[in-house]
Amino acid sequence: MEKNLNLNLKVWRQKNANDKGKFEEYKVNNISTDMSFLEMFDVLNDRLVTEDKEPIAFDHDCREGICGSCSMFINGQPHGPKQGVTTCQLHMRSFNDGDTIVVEPWRATAFPVIKDLVVDRSAFDRIISAGGFISINTGNAQDANAIPIPKDDADEAFAAAACIGCGACVAACKNASAMLFVSAKVSQFALLPQGQPERYQRVSEMVAQMDLEGFGACTNTGACSAECPKGISLTHIARMNRDFLVAGMSTNEK
């Protein structure tokens, strides 16, 4: 049943990358429990505009949980208290009347704040450019099933490919490690025949880029997987560790 909530928000405001930034408090009233978290921000921003104040900058695009841009650290968890959802899919019914909600940007050296809640996640793009692809000459699409792939592998690769690059894994990790993201991208190719020719070169180069970007090292807390909106599993991290070890010991560089 729809209800209306009155809430206290504490939102991180930061003019630009160089600004120190601080929390700003806002009272929002009459928020429908059917609204998404982003819609609540829309309501607040409308009001700020009419009050001639700077609206709160936040990332969003699809608003259906598939683009991964709506990064917000809500009450100590990426994408808020629910598991398996992005902020755009988090509804206000997950909160109670009178709640205080603290909203922060992702915090990581590799994800510098651009403005308010918006962070620069291009570090992920650079990791992908380092090896998260398959080099093939495109031509006509091949016949389906021309390359046999065991069903289990196909499913596992598909599960890895569900990663939307949202960065919640980095945000949740106490070390700001990007292992879950990188391992998902390594796994989705490592499991498929098309990914084999570049398999070991890929993992070496993506890991090298990951380290270069300043992400922390994995301590296997599992926070990433617990907070991942797509439920990416830690087994992908293990696969990446394995492949990295094999890459180090078997590729031809001296």
């Binding site: 504490k10 100590g76 050296t109 070390n175 922390g216 301590t219 296997n220 394995r242 990295f244 180090g248």
Partner: protein, 263 residues
């Protein structure tokens, strides 16, 4: 050689090192535990003292023990460096962070638990290892075992008594029969005396909690770091990690000071 350096200096490679040294230290705990069970033997320390001599003189054990000291240092230093590196990956902390919602507290406290264990190892080695090898406090005890009856009688040597080797063995006889005589450095007595101090006993028991919690996460984490995560054997890893390494072994070690305190 370049690839070795490159591999082990990457964030993944450093985790391999943590995992390998960590598992080696775990294997040491098993040996240390089994050996020290002889403390519970009611023989005035004959078995334990002879075992201590073996552990400090056997060349194979000696080599392994240097590997062990090296692993402890490496694991500790690498661990500290990783904590520093990981802190740098998030210089601005969150105002609110609900870690309990997504991870076990042990996994988030490995640095603190590890530091407690490191301090413990320093105290522990100072009290026993250093005293036994280099100190002058530990005296000698002689054990006479009657070959006919198998009964052993022990007698402390005078405080001034000393001998070149930690242990001397021989045969002797009197009107009651033949005896095997062993005169050995009495580490057992040092253990018994120290564990009469309540604060040392308390320290040991508390530190064994730290060991248990450290291994609760650490044991299975090492396998994950090495890429060994599969439903085929995860059950076994979890079982060993929880029941053997975070409960049985720390409880066994904690029982030793308690045993002497209440003896």
């Amino acid at each position: 050689m370049n690839w070795v350096i490159k591999m082990f200096s990457s964030s993944l490679g450093q985790k391999f090192i943590m995992a390998l040294t960590g598992l080696f230290l775990c294997s040491f705990l098993i040996v240390h535990m089994i050996g020290n069970l002889q403390l519970f033997k009611a023989d005035d320390g004959l078995a334990f003292n002879t075992y201590a001599v073996f552990m400090t003189t056997n060349p194979f054990i000696k080599v392994t023990s240097y590997l062990l000291y090296f692993s402890i240092l490496f694991h500790a230093i690498k661990g500290i460096l990783l904590v520093v590196k990981n802190n740098k990956a998030r210089p601005v902390k969150y105002a609110v962070q609900n870690g309990a919602a997504n991870s076990h507290w042990t996994s988030r406290s490995m640095g603190v638990l590890g530091t407690i264990i490191l301090v413990f190892i320093v105290i522990h080695m100072k009290n026993f290892w250093f005293e036994y090898k280099f100190g002058h406090e530990i005296g000698y005890t002689s054990y006479y075992t009657n070959l006919a009856t198998g009964v052993t009688v022990s007698k402390e040597m005078s405080a001034e008594y000393t001998q070149f080797n930690k242990m001397e063995e021989g045969m002797t006889a009197d009107e009651n029969g033949q005896y095997r005589l062993v005169i050995v450095k009495d580490l057992y007595k040092a253990v018994a005396i120290q564990f009469k101090e309540w604060y040392l006993v308390a320290l040991y028991v508390l530190c064994m909690f730290a060991v248990g919690f450290h291994l609760f996460h650490g044991f299975k984490s090492a396998f994950q770091s090495l890429g060994l995560n599969h439903s085929k054997y995860n059950g076994l890893i979890n079982f060993l990690g929880i029941w053997v390494f975070s409960i049985l072994i720390p409880a066994g070690f904690a029982a030793m000071p308690l045993f002497f305190f209440f003896k």
